[in-house]
Symmetry: C2
Subunit: 482 residues, 2 copies
Amino acid sequence: MDAISSTIHHHITAAAAHRPAANMFPKLLALQPLAIHDSHSKPKKSSRSAVESLSHLLHLRMETPEQKLIVQQSNWNLQFDHDEKHNTPAMSPREDVSDKWREIHGSQDWESLLNPLHPWLRREIVKYGEFAQATYDAFDFDSFSEYCGSCRYRENRLFEKLGISKHGYKVSKYIYAMSHMDVPQWLERSRIAETWSKDSNWMGFVASPLFMEKPRLSVGFLSIYTSKCEATRYNKSSASEQVMEEVKRLVEIYKGRGEEVSLTITGHSLGGALALLNAYEAANTIPNLPISVISFGAPRVGNIAFRDELHQIGVKTLRVVLKQDVVPRMPGIVFNESLQKFDDFIGTLEWVYTHVGAELRLDAGSSPYLKRGLNLLGFHMLETYLHVVDGFLSTSSTYRSNARRDVALVNKYCDMLVDELRIPPCWYQRENKGLVCNAHGRWVKPRRDPEDIPSPTRDQEVHVHGIEMRESCERFESLLSV
Amino acid sequence: MDAISSTIHHHITAAAAHRPAANMFPKLLALQPLAIHDSHSKPKKSSRSAVESLSHLLHLRMETPEQKLIVQQSNWNLQFDHDEKHNTPAMSPREDVSDKWREIHGSQDWESLLNPLHPWLRREIVKYGEFAQATYDAFDFDSFSEYCGSCRYRENRLFEKLGISKHGYKVSKYIYAMSHMDVPQWLERSRIAETWSKDSNWMGFVASPLFMEKPRLSVGFLSIYTSKCEATRYNKSSASEQVMEEVKRLVEIYKGRGEEVSLTITGHSLGGALALLNAYEAANTIPNLPISVISFGAPRVGNIAFRDELHQIGVKTLRVVLKQDVVPRMPGIVFNESLQKFDDFIGTLEWVYTHVGAELRLDAGSSPYLKRGLNLLGFHMLETYLHVVDGFLSTSSTYRSNARRDVALVNKYCDMLVDELRIPPCWYQRENKGLVCNAHGRWVKPRRDPEDIPSPTRDQEVHVHGIEMRESCERFESLLSV
């Protein structure tokens, strides 16, 4: 335990989500071994049909926001007065977690913190989930935008725009990923010719905390991990290299100042699987760096050898899994093997992702705010996860009555909330898709604020700044506090 | 011809559209005789399959805004510089149509005005179309709103909110319709218990022009025409009675002042069919009132007897029909016959709606801005009609190069514009579906501005005002100019 509270822990976190919600599923499935299943003579009936219905339903539901509601048979009664609830701050008071931070980040494999769930750990999990959610909420998936596939905001206003500056972090670098040749439909692409980038998508960010006794760093990413191409603007280095470069840079800075540094990587769905790859690489690249992974609804990743290696190098993994979510039951991407070679693996592998680290297993049925019934997409959404985590006390308790997180967030991209709450389904949308009526009476798309236009050069400048900072901790501090 | 330009023509117009766009088709079809077709032993193959695909496609397209584009084979080149076009006022200069108003409103059955299309008539058609469009754009179809099914704005700000106050009209009365027992799914209903009305939907408006040498009145309606119920708040009188009462009231006022009055009724789709019923009733109720109907994409209505009677009483009808739109080819509702009795008619009737008055037949292929290919919904949308009308010169001409109407409007509820224009499909949407983040960090639906809350009492007050006005033209003038 770290008893000296004045020690500054620089905690690096990677918030990884793989796609904006509106398109993630078809492409997530494209990466699964399901396609190979199809060529097998004896596919496993049960898993195939589940997968097919998932694919089918998700695809349909993605494009057809459910208008008809599943009839509520529950005798759920409104548990609060609307106005009272609406006038309650959505944030809880924050405790100083510095004394317990190593344990909260997995030093003891979360053994004694999960059931009942320690309130400090709950808050940390929600925070990391909100970092992963940020990559969905800020992603520009307007195919008529010349910035399609980028982040809608520049680094220094991302958290503010998304209302998560409360966590006290600041983005230090954006990470970009390029299309993998095997999965050509992976990226979000603009329909128009001249775009900010033809090859890359925004993938996430590296961030570090401000004004806290125990500042931390965060890294987030979205998509495929190892591709690069000299001819591109954003992927002369791969996403993997970008993350590692930035993490190494920050670790060096903080270690050079005699401070403790740790890295937590977080991600949702495929992003959760990628977080594990990132952790593996970071552990092999940077010796003696405490690394933890907190994933949400991630599919299974890797084989037994990979599991053993992760364990050996000390990567701590906490998988948050919703009982109703089928994605964590699906085989995920396989590390170090090309997709073509997947055939060799299937059948011989026991999928073992669940054995890497700890699992926080939650039941959506514990929440009185959520509809019952089958909603495969809804039960996989990250906001649904965060809502259930927020109310979780222990496996033997009901949803906690003093949960503070805004329940309305659940319905951002789906239709999961009971009607009594009167929150429209899929409500997270831009007014007129960004069109505005100009002085001449014409509906036009305003030019993006130059500050928010992606630029590999500007990223480079930020980076160079960072390197200069190594020579001057004071100047670095001032950069962080801008 | 009216040579005395100081004569004031009070022109009453009924802008009728039947439903908000997002839900109109399944319910429109529910009113068609198609269901009766089904019970026939020998349905007409071609029309049935067309209808089935329409129903199927429309239903799907309604709920699944098309993301994939039909590949453009056209060699269409961008015909204008974007910025230049965006800086061109969307309005053309207005001429004084007073000398020609009788002819423009059908006194000569539009014989010499359609091909080539007289520019003044084009402008009148677009104006009436925009009145009909207003009932779509302002309709509250949020099923979680307690005002679901009402107009989102009160009478005195409807046109301003929709950007059509340029036409110089002022709403004098809103019209409400109630659910027809035979078509229980007709109305838009709120999912929540306490609502502004359980039985009625906003249906349209009566309006009159301001500050013009030749002011006119407008009436608009949306839905079923003749139902009423003493127990309801909004339909103690039927929509039909509400319209007639208001029209009669205004006609009396203007006639009492020695002024000329005329009535034009306009509507889109089923609203166009209902406009004809309204015209029939008005002609039989108010003697010597010149009445014209301008409909857009309306299905066929009525039988030979109805046609003959309309003709005899002097109702002038101009049907605007898009060649690619299948709805005008479909049989519509039958006047004076219950839906159950429809069986008696089918087969013995020659559908003759096209013989009532004149037809302005347009080809969407004339517009270089519209996608080719099959888009049944898109070709039926009122905004598509208005776009094609705006560019129509004659059957032998191409789309006029000096058309001023904003092309972007076409994509409000569909995906009809070529990619080069960069206008997102289905872009007409509210920011976060009306939710706002309050000071406590919670997403809530703000209470509707009390001014915009529907109230049968307030409507009554407006009405009473109107009656008092009969005794004082000056006071009436001041009401109009408020």
